[in-house]
């Protein structure tokens, strides 16, 4: 791997940037691997990177049916935070946030991670009490979080309307200053490049069509590019988790829904933080290109279509304009949807399955992007050692039978 630096940039500028080498190889699949990761999104690529780096497992392939980061990695609103209520969630999201903080240096790839703060608004007394409870719980886990008064909200984000006669007045907010945004594509590409440099084969346009097994043990996968043998298959496919599970004869507590997002036309810098509001159901930040990035809610029905209803967008835009009258005359440029894999307790499912050698990492629902590095890190440990990483252990599939659910429905930025 050629290192990226100011010197390589200058050197390549001399040849008009025509001689950059490819960031990763595109090899043909080998007949067998020590482990196969299904899904070339951020989580899958991070898993491959940590398998190679921390567990010296380099005879690994990542199989992606489309292109890298073309699923939910490229469709989310890029928000990173770790302000979760329960200890188990705090542990995994904070683990991820700490990895985010050094990620650009570790991968030698600019993930454009920007700790601009994530602010959750309260619009009534109940919201405010709930935020206070959360902030206290979060701080007890050693994670930064604070409560702001309406005046402090205004000082932190001047374009917000805090007049008391609004339909949804701003009565306060919680703020995690270490939260923020990252460039979603860069996370996938950075992990892909770093994993490839350690010997991982990244194979795009290769869809898994079957999971081979003999006597309760995984033996390989059928793909659109032939059969590949392996003793370990790790599935990280977000919205399609149930489809892959069915190939192995398993059922998951997962329901797939479209989740939409949209961007406005680009404008000059106007909002330098992330603002979320549960009550009016919207969240907004501004990309480095100047577009407002706005997240909506999920459509009620199940879908694999990667598109949602316009009524959801209408509700969402109403909410954003209510909070930020300054945005009312902005035009919207694009809207799209990703298929999110929602679980009954709004927490992910990470770990082993009843089938030996088959591992699942799914159920991140509406908020998986922020966890990308931590998810990959603990999943790699789980695969390599065939036992859950201590941080991943509470997220095992068997919690639905034991009843030890991790109810994070209130932790989403908005009520999904």
């Amino acid at each position: 791997m050629k290192r990226y630096s100011i010197f390589s940039l200058a050197r390549n500028a001399l040849s008009r940037h025509e001689n950059w080498s490819a960031a990763w190889r595109s090899p043909d699949p080998k007949p067998s691997y020590d482990a196969i990761i299904v899904g070339g999104g951020g989580h899958g690529l991070a898993t491959a990177y940590y398998l190679a780096k921390e567990h010296k497992l380099t005879n690994v392939a990542v199989l992606e049916k489309g292109w890298l980061g073309g699923g939910n990695t490229g469709r989310n609103t890029t928000i990173v935070r770790s302000n979760y209520l329960w200890d188990e969630s705090a542990a995994i999201y904070e683990h991820a946030l700490k990895l985010w903080e050094g990620l650009s240096q570790e991968l030698n790839y600019n993930t454009m991670f920007s700790q601009r703060g994530v602010m959750n608004l309260a619009h009534n007394l109940h919201d405010l009490r709930e935020l206070n409870r959360r902030v206290n719980a979060i701080r007890l886990n050693g994670i930064d979080s604070e409560i702001l008064s309406p005046q402090q909200v205004k000082a932190f984000c001047p374009i917000i309307d805090i007049s008391p006669d609004l339909r949804f007045p701003v009565m306060g907010a919680s703020l995690q200053r270490r939260g923020g945004n990252a460039r979603h594509d860069a996370v996938a590409w950075g992990y892909a490049r770093a994993a490839d440099a350690r010997g991982v084969d990244i194979i795009q346009q290769c869809e898994v069509t079957g999971i081979l097994r003999e006597g309760g043990q995984v033996t390989g996968v059928e793909t659109t590019r032939g059969t590949i043998r392996t003793p370990k298959v790790a599935v990280v496919v977000a919205g399609h988790a149930s489809v892959l599970a069915e190939m192995a004869g398993l059922r998951l507590p997962i329901q797939s829904h479209p989740l939409q997002a949209l961007v406005s036309e680009p404008v000059k810098p106007v909002i330098d933080t992330v603002v979320m509001s549960n009550a009016v159901h919207g969240y907004v930040s501004q990309s480095d290109k100047g577009e407002l990035v706005i997240g909506a809610g999920i459509d009620a029905y199940h879908s694999y279509a990667q598109r949602g209803g316009l009524d959801i967008i209408e509700e969402n835009v109403k909410a954003i304009c209510e909070l930020f009258p300054i945005f009312r005359r902005l035009r919207l440029m694009r809207h799209w949807a990703g298929i999110v894999d929602t679980s009954p307790d709004a927490s992910p499912i990470i770990g082993k399955t009843p089938l030996r050698g088959l591992y699942f990492n799914c159920g991140w629902g509406t908020g998986g992007f922020k966890a990308t590095p931590g998810s990959g890190h603990v999943f790699a440990h789980t695969i390599a050692r065939d036992e859950p990483h201590p941080i991943a252990a509470p997220f095992a599939l068997d919690r639905f039978a034991t009843g030890a659910l991790i109810d994070e429905h209130g932790a989403a930025a908005v009520a999904h």
Binding site: H240, S242, V243, R251, L252, P253, I254, Q255, S256, A300, Y301, H302, S303, Y304, A305, G309, L310, D311, P344, F400, A401, T402, G403
Partner: protein
């Protein structure tokens, strides 16, 4: 937005309906006799089919009644609606419940 044909009221906008998830999940006859795994299966595990999916809707801002629909989860096309207690169109025609897209 979907345009949903209520079996009693005719086609209406999705706004008038609430979604009820997967259809034909029967409550166990004797819940107390179930193992934890069987109870988890009833309570949480779902087919989440890609393709033809049998699901429940309620016309909550109309007649208030529940009914079932056969809908494609890729094209969103509603292929049939039928009343609670009626056989699904796939069952009636002898096909299996799950169908690949």
């Amino acid at each position: 937005m979907l345009h949903i044909p209520c079996p009693w009221c005719g086609a209406r906008d999705q706004h008038e309906f609430s979604y009820g998830g997967e259809a034909h999940i029967a409550r166990p006859e004797d819940p107390a006799a179930l193992s934890d795994a069987a109870w988890a299966d009833y309570l949480f595990m779902r087919s989440n089919t890609k393709g033809l999916f049998l699901e429940r809707w309620r016309h909550s801002h109309g007649c208030g009644r529940w009914f079932n629909a056969a809908r494609d989860t890729v094209s969103h096309a509603i292929l049939a609606v039928y009343k609670m207690g009626e056989k699904s169109p796939t069952e009636a025609s002898g096909e299996t419940k799950r169908s690949e897209s």
